[in-house]
């Protein structure tokens, strides 16, 4: 279990009678790009909150970066990065201020913040924009910057919650280039998306339906198993049976 980036066993979260997450079991390998899919309301967000150390499970076991989700929430938070479409950066801070702020929150030393932020701004080609407010950046750039900030403290795992929603097709692909680079450098990537072509970019995918993980495999194996040639169909076959997708 120590070698896995994430390990869940019978993980359950109950709100009253409602099992948002229902005996979920899976492992994520280190350096893997893991796609976490599911219909609206399937329990993805609840599961993600537990894995990010923001919510306690009702029962079951889970470790993230080797830390226990019950007892070591703070260590988990220090060892992960997180970004979502909804919340990523402060619009009314400049690009540089955002980087310095997040670097500080995650305990990166001043010296390292200086070195890494110079490096980051030059890799992103944002030298001219570094002192501009983040709110003035186009969405695509914001998302790329948000991702870089989420891995600025070199976390073991990064959680991405629909990182590319609404982004144009070119920028979306540049974003995935960055994900691949992060994975190559050894960061485990845990990502949710509604774009089924992006599901194909993952090493493995899980599909949640009504609180349960109903399928987990590589995209190729899933397509073989469901006898179809698109992930779209795999997802459709699994999720159309969902009872609470809309409740």
């Amino acid at each position: 279990m120590e070698n896995k980036a994430i390990s869940c066993k019978n993980l359950t979260k109950q709100f009253g009678d409602f099992k948002a997450v229902d005996r979920v079991t899976f492992d994520v390998e280190q350096g893997e790009i893991f796609g976490f899919l599911g219909a609206n309301g399937a329990g993805k967000t609840t599961a993600m909150r537990i894995l990010c150390g923001l919510s306690f499970p009702t029962s079951g076991e889970a470790t993230v970066a080797g830390f226990d989700v019950y007892k070591q929430q703070e260590q988990i938070k220090k060892n992960i990065g997180y970004m979502s479409q909804k919340f990523s950066l402060y619009d009314n801070l400049t690009i540089l201020e955002n980087i310095v702020f997040y670097g500080g929150v995650y305990g990166v030393s001043r010296v390292d913040i200086k070195i890494r932020s110079d490096e980051l701004i030059s890799t992103l080609g944002l030298e001219k924009e570094a002192k501009k407010l983040v709110g003035e950046l186009p969405l695509g750039w914001k998302q790329k910057l948000a991702f870089s900030v989420a891995i600025f403290h070199r976390p073991k795992i990064v959680f991405l919650d629909e990182p590319t929603g609404g982004v144009d097709p070119v920028t979306r692909r540049q974003f995935w280039d960055m994900i691949y680079q992060a994975a190559e450098s050894g960061i485990t990537v845990f990502v949710t998306t509604h774009y089924m072509d992006e599901a194909e970019y993952c090493d493995r995918i899980s599909v949640m339906v009504d609180g349960r993980v109903e399928a987990l495999d590589s995209p190729t194996n899933l397509k073989n198993k469901f006898q179809t040639d698109t992930m779209d169909n795999v997802f459709y076959q699994l999720a159309r049976g969902a009872k609470r997708a809309d409740s």
């Binding site: 599911g38 219909a39 609206n40 309301g41 144009d168 190559e184 072509d197 995209p219 809309d246």
Partner: protein, 333 residues
Amino acid sequence: MKNEVHNSHLSAANSQLSVICKNIVKTYNKGEVKAVNAVSFDVQKGELFGLIGPDGAGKTSIFRILTTLLLADSGTARVEGLDVANDYREIRNMVGYMPGKFSLYQDLTVEENLRFFATVFGTSIEDNYELIKDIYDQIKPFNNRRAGKLSGGMKQKLALCCALIHKPTVLFLDEPTTGVDVVSRKEFWEMLDRLKKQGITIVVSTPYMDEATLCDRIALIQNGSIMSIDTPDNIVKSFPKPLFAAKADNIYTLLQDLRSADEVESCYPFGEYLHLTVKTATSDIDSIKQIAGKDTVNGLEVKRIGPTIEDSFIRLMNEDNVKENTKEKADGK
């Protein structure tokens, strides 16, 4: 906005048109941000017309201008023959609008919302029940639930019902499927198809390129400008180069290798494959395999494929960027 001279003498061709946009320009921040840049397009009566483009392309500004909620800086627009600036009252009674952001009353129930919007338009749920029945039946079991407590898919259905309750002639739907899962998206498009059969003109926007093929005609829009308007079929057909798909066991290495090859014009990931075009006009699968390093790559597979709307969009976007860059250089920026 300038008033058109021949207000009452619309030509026969124009009377077949439901929406006419001519050179619409909209800027924000005292002209600093150009949201809509000389956009022109027509929508025929009964047509399902799609505005396809990412966030920030200008889709919402166009919708708000056409629904009379926002005035354009310049240009003219007509909906059902009426001017969006002068005849806004009539237009508001004729169009249905579903904004991208959920805009119903969160603390009213499903039924209360519907009844409220019906009353505002001087009608009742019962009067237009036939039109919404299909959709309303799906949310009826939750009639007494507050709108704020509904899931994404159900909010979307309720919003559509409210936009339809006064039997509009034109329906404007701004990103109705954003953030909605594949299953609900499919259902939503089936609903649109049924509404279209009833003769309602529908203008819909989406950032999902795969939904483009479900429209009669589409406009591909980026940075406030329309890059192309046509049927999805024709847009795909006008893709100027042979397109290939390639994959290998290590797809990321293959991507880097292909991108650095001189012969390759463009190469990007597309689902399980990479899509690529080459600079030479005469190219075949074998020559692509050569470029990829044939014998040294494990699991190499190359095939010729037909482009999708997303391929066309990417190509048009890149062409635009190239133009922009050359222009900037010429301007000495």
